[in-house]
């Protein structure tokens, strides 16, 4: 590990000042990703600004009945929160599907957004990697790429974003709250993470001198209450998603799809919000056929790199599984209501 200075400010203003004064500084949340990468020599910050003492640890209601999740809320606290479990079910399920209990206890909401890819070549500095060292190459493309992207990837990089929580947040139309030297700003979740393009080293719209303060969720709906998260992985716990799907359905009086949210994990450089597939489904039948077709539409332009080819058939199947579960929940809910 490269030596660094350590700071633990008690206010957001102090934290911003530290970031402004010290180029090469990084924020430290739970450290479950950053410390690993520092020990590997992938991240080499000169200064660490620990956010643990910032007053960002609460989940509170917003004026419109939504939720504001402070950047320091642990993954465990988020998943266990009563309203998250009741009103934003896919978010609770997605967060619980991630990592292990010990890691979730430690991991923060802000840190989860900014966790880096698990690409084997990125995490070992001995390899070239365009994300780590722009211009050095991408050994994943003709190397072992079972966990890599099939959608939205570029010549420069085929890595995936590993988060489960973020997939649900993208589907729920969450909003990221950011503060920085220029003041506060908000970014819709689907716009927060970026596709790799020519600059895979730039992963989000966050600037190095900015801080995530919270993620807000819009008011709940039947759709968010009946939503699901389905994660397909190599083992039942403590494994990243090969493909995951966050899905929510609202049914009209005629049983047709009135509204739908669909996002995929494990397939792209960012949580993959499937806007086009949502449009396909909206107003149509809530049938297995329609679900499969929507899934197929998502992978119509997908590219496999060999070991990850299986994700192309797996993604639409998982979409159908998730939508099927969401449908069952929606039907049960409307049955209960009647």
């Amino acid at each position: 590990m490269t030596p660094f200075t350590y700071h633990k400010p008690a206010s957001v203003a102090d934290a911003l000042a530290l970031l402004a004064d010290r180029p090469g500084a990084m924020l430290l949340g739970g450290g479950t990703n950053l410390v690993d990468l520092m020990r590997k020599g992938v991240e080499t910050p000169d200064h660490l600004v620990d956010v643990q003492d910032l007053p960002l640890g609460e989940i509170s209601e917003t004026d419109d009945g939504g939720l504001r999740i402070g950047a320091l809320v642990s993954n465990t606290a988020l998943a266990a929160h009563d309203r998250v479990r009741r009103d934003y079910r896919m978010l609770s399920e997605a967060t619980l599907a991630g990592a292990s209990q010990q890691l979730r206890n430690r991991a923060t909401t802000g840190g989860n957004l900014l966790q880096r890819t698990r690409c084997y070549y990125f995490t070992e500095p001995g390899y070239p990697c365009n994300k780590r060292e722009p211009g050095s190459g991408c050994p994943a493309k003709d190397g072992f790429n079972r966990i890599h992207a099939i959608l939205g990837e570029s010549d420069a990089c085929i890595a995936t974003h590993p988060s489960d929580m973020c997939v649900a947040m993208s589907a729920l139309d969450a909003v990221v709250e950011i503060t920085g030297p220029g003041g506060d700003r908000t970014v819709p979740f689907p716009d927060f993470h970026l596709l790799p393009g020519d600059t895979p080293n730039v992963e989000t719209v966050l600037e190095p001198d900015e801080i995530i303060t919270a993620v807000t969720l819009p008011p709940p709906s039947d759709l968010s209450r009946q939503s699901v998260y389905v994660k397909v992985r190599d083992r039942q716990s403590y494994a990243f998603a090969l493909v995951s799907v966050a899905a929510g359905l609202a049914l009209g009086a005629d049983g047709q799809v009135e509204d739908v949210r669909l996002a995929l994990g494990g397939v792209a450089h960012k949580p993959w919000r499937a806007f086009d597939a949502e449009s396909l489904l909206r107003g149509g039948p809530a049938s297995d056929d329609a679900f499969r077709q929507a899934g197929q539409a998502i992978v119509a332009d997908a590219t496999g790199y060999g070991h990850n080819d299986f994700k192309i058939p797996l993604a639409p199947r998982t979409v159908a599984v998730a939508l099927g579960k969401a449908l069952a929940r929606a039907q049960r809910a409307s049955g209960d209501a009647r």
């Binding site: 490269t2 070992e124 050994p139 190397g143 397909v232 083992r235 299986f310 797996l314």
Partner: protein
């Protein structure tokens, strides 16, 4: 009044005597002995290479040496040349052909991840940081790690300078074919195959698996004059001591004497040699797993001792998890072709099993890949062919049931395929071919496999299983039941122990054995207590110290069968010594009796004229009574002439679910039934079995070290990405035992459980997946992409 034990202990379910120490953090593992040292303890960190082949052209250590806290950076340019002598007879844990890797003694690079420097600093963090500042340049040459391509190359002839596929250069040394012969043929397997009613021909692949004990390998070494003491994560303190002594050129005679002597205790050695002290001592009371990774003594242990000597201070070195992939061996990647032929009734007519296994460029690692095939089923015609393929990898090593685990997997998957080819129940096929002799006609000592089949079938509900694949569906899941037989050789080697009976009514029993988890501590305590007629808490068994009487390697499932009888014999010898004292002692009720007329029963010495407890006699004597004993064959039992072939037998049944939409496989239940002779401790035997099954499921479904094809390096070298089973993946597991004590093997009748427990599970799971889905997975692991 001294306490005695009036009921038998052996065979009773007994908890680990070390359990409380372990769960309360008081069991001290190698690296944790740092608590015994102050700031004089320096910390070593390895520098490894990215390049997989070539020669080091330069190492720049200037920056590292200037970093805070750095004491010294050792490289091949400044490390002392060490004698690194090899023993005349290499221990069986070490390849018989080739030379071990000796980092810092050469500039040659054989594989990615090879150690090229050691940084020693005042703190671990300082050493870790400085290690990142060492710049290594390698003049790279083309590396080869592609087993698929390499195994098809023509076989080696003497004159080639590049390594090629070859038969083992030092094959089996006995006529019983229990070793690793390159070719074994019985009858005319090809003709029988051609003319048989039913045949299968399968190519099976088993990828690289890594032992990954929970405790990383670690060493603390320090010197006092010419005396070296080491805490090392090892499964064999005696061999570590021997190898260290040879590496540093210390007192060969003393070491050999200890290993060869019948029942040497330290004093005896010193007496003979006239030396004051033992010059190398390895102390490892606790070993946090190993599965074979602790059998050999690996380069980092020598490097730590070297650094300690050069710096004249204690040095501690702990491998990182990534280094655990390339420093302490692995289960080698192998390819197998299995051809089976049967007549219309399902009786095997021909078995042809070929295996190609990777090894390193500097050593020829061999394992019992095809041995199971030569004893598992009755067949008139058979051929096994074993070939080694040198690649740019570290030397593989034994991993729980080395060879057997991979070879039996392929055989048992082929047996399943043959059953379906015939249209016969796969369990029935195995029953019909149940053998009474190995392929050379040697009868098995004691075999109760048929009972195991019956019990397992009952427990898993085999009778209700429809034969056809893809015929059991529950909701979104395909459900399947699979079976596999399991076999593992029963071995035994000479072991020694000492027993010391103290006037306070307790006994101390010692042997240089190890306990990497199976419960050696408790089982040996049980044997001693049972023999002495003492309650468990009066007996203190200690192991893991090379100054204790010699024990063979803690591997090959032979600790119980080897050390157990030695413990029993040492206790019996101590009892005899007490009897001799008592009959000579007027104060004893046994006074005047002939020693031959006195026997021990439930802790009481009973003679013609009276009785007293064993420990009362010791107490009156007022001084400890001590005896040592040593017994067992000088070589592995399997290599000794014998009227019997010694094996353990069993079967594994698995019920799996495969999600019909996503392909995700899950194991729902496993029933393992084994015949291991006498079960000394049902608790630890069951827990070993459960652990073995867990490991087998991991092998079947998820474990794989993935070699990047261009960089020749394991890509997934963390425990986050190298998937071992989690609790959530572990199903309901039942462990049952059948059979009877095998007194042909040893006086305890015990054969050992550790390895047979892991053979067979992977094949049962893969066979169950076939039954569930109709997909025959031939290349492990059976990940969901193979089941979509």
């Amino acid at each position: 009044m001294t306490t005695t034990q009036t009921t038998p202990i052996i065979g009773q379910a007994t908890r680990r005597v070390t359990g409380p120490l372990k769960v309360s953090g008081q069991a001290t593992y190698a690296a944790e002995f740092s608590k015994d040292f102050g700031p004089e303890l320096a910390h070593g960190v390895l520098v490894t290479t990215m390049a997989a082949s070539g020669r080091i052209s330069s190492i720049d250590t200037e920056q590292a040496e200037a970093a805070p806290g750095v004491v010294k950076v050792f490289t091949h340019l400044n490390a002392p040349e060490l004698p690194y002598e090899e023993p005349v007879m290499r221990p069986q844990v070490q390849p018989q052909v080739g030379d071990p890797l000796r980092p810092l003694q050469t500039d040659q690079i054989f594989f990615s991840g090879q150690t090229v420097a050691v940084v020693v600093a005042e703190t671990l963090e300082q050493a870790e940081h400085a290690a990142t500042l060492v710049r290594v340049t390698v003049d790279e040459t083309a590396a080869d790690t592609d087993l698929h391509a390499a195994h098809q190359r023509p076989e080696a002839d003497e004159k080639q300078d590049t390594p090629r596929v070859s038969a083992p250069k030092k094959p089996a040394e006995n006529g019983k074919m229990t070793g690793r012969p390159s070719d074994v043929t019985v009858g005319d397997p090809d003709a029988a195959f051609e003319s048989a009613a039913h045949t299968v021909d399968l190519d099976v692949e088993i990828k690289t698996l890594v032992n990954h004990p929970i405790e990383p390998h670690a060493t603390i070494a320090w010197w006092e004059g010419n005396t070296l003491t080491v805490h090392d994560k090892t499964q064999w303190v005696d061999n570590a001591r021997h190898k260290l002594a040879l590496a540093f050129g210390i007192r060969q005679e003393e070491i050999d004497l200890k290993v060869d002597a019948l029942n040497t205790v330290k004093d005896a050695v010193e007496g003979v040699l006239g030396v004051q002290e033992s010059s190398v001592r390895v102390i490892t009371p606790f070993t946090g797993g190993g599965f074979g990774s602790g059998l050999r003594t690996w380069p980092h242990t020598f490097l730590t001792a070297m650094a300690a000597r050069e710096l004249d201070r204690p040095v501690r070195l702990v491998l990182t998890r990534a280094e655990m992939f390339t420093s302490v061996g692995h289960r080698p990647h192998n390819l197998q072709r299995v051809r089976l032929a049967a007549d219309a009734d399902g009786r095997l007519q021909s078995v042809i099993h070929e295996g190609w296994q990777e090894t390193s460029l500097y050593e020829e690692y061999t394992m019992n890949l095809l041995n199971t095939t030569r004893m598992a089923y009755a067949t008139p015609n058979l051929r096994t062919t074993y070939r080694l393929v040198p690649l740019n990898i570290q030397t593989p090593t034994s991993m729980r049931a080395p060879g057997e685990c991979s070879g039996a997997h392929a055989l048992e998957v082929a047996m399943d395929a043959l059953a379906y080819e015939i249209g016969m129940d796969p369990l029935e096929l195995r029953r019909r071919n149940n053998a009474t002799h190995d392929v050379q006609g040697t009868p098995f000592s004691s075999k109760h496999l048929a009972e195991a089949y019956d019990l397992g079938a009952e427990k898993i509900g085999w009778a209700d299983r429809p034969l056809a694949p893809r015929s059991m569906r529950d909701g979104d899941d395909w459900v399947g039941l699979g079976v596999s037989s399991t076999f593992y050789p029963a071995n035994r080697m000479k072991a020694s122990a000492s027993a010391r009976l103290l006037p306070d009514g307790t006994a101390q029993v010692h042997s240089a054995a190890s306990d990497m988890g199976p419960g050696t501590y408790v089982s040996m305590t049980m044997v001693a207590a049972d023999t002495l007629g003492l309650p468990l808490d009066k007996v203190k068994f200690a192991l893991g110290d090379s100054d204790f009487p010699h024990a063979p390697v803690h591997g090959g499932s032979m600790t119980m069968a080897s050390v157990g009888p030695a413990v029993k014999a040492a206790c019996e010898a101590a009892i005899q010594a007490v009897i001799e004292l008592a009959v000579d002692d007027d104060a004893s009720p046994l006074a005047g009796a002939s020693a031959d007329d006195v026997r021990l029963e439930h802790g009481e010495l009973i003679g013609p004229g009276g009785r007293e407890t064993l420990m009362a006699a010791v107490a009156r004597h007022g001084e400890p009574v001590e005896a040592t004993a040593s017994l067992g064959p000088n070589k592995l039992q399997a290599l000794m002439p014998s009227d019997y072939a010694f094996h353990s037998y069993g079967c594994v049944f698995a019920r799996v679910r495969v999600d019909a939409r996503t392909g995700e496989p899950r194991v729902e239940k496993v029933v393992a039934v084994n015949d291991v002779g006498k079960v000394i401790n049902p608790t630890t035997a069951a827990s070993q079995t459960i652990g073995g099954v867990v490991m087998g499921i991991g092998m079947a479904l998820m474990e794989e070290a993935i070699l990047d094809p261009n960089f020749h390096r394991y890509a997934n070298d963390t425990l986050a990405e190298y998937h071992a089973l989690t609790n959530r993946d572990a199903p309901e597991i039942e462990a049952h035992f059948v059979g009877e004590p095998d007194y042909e093997l040893n006086p305890l009748g015990a054969r050992g459980v550790g390895e047979i427990a892991t053979v067979g599970t992977s094949s049962a799971v893969v066979n169950a997946i076939y039954h569930a889905t109709g997909a025959r997975v031939l290349s492990l692991p059976a990940t969901l992409d193979k089941l979509l």
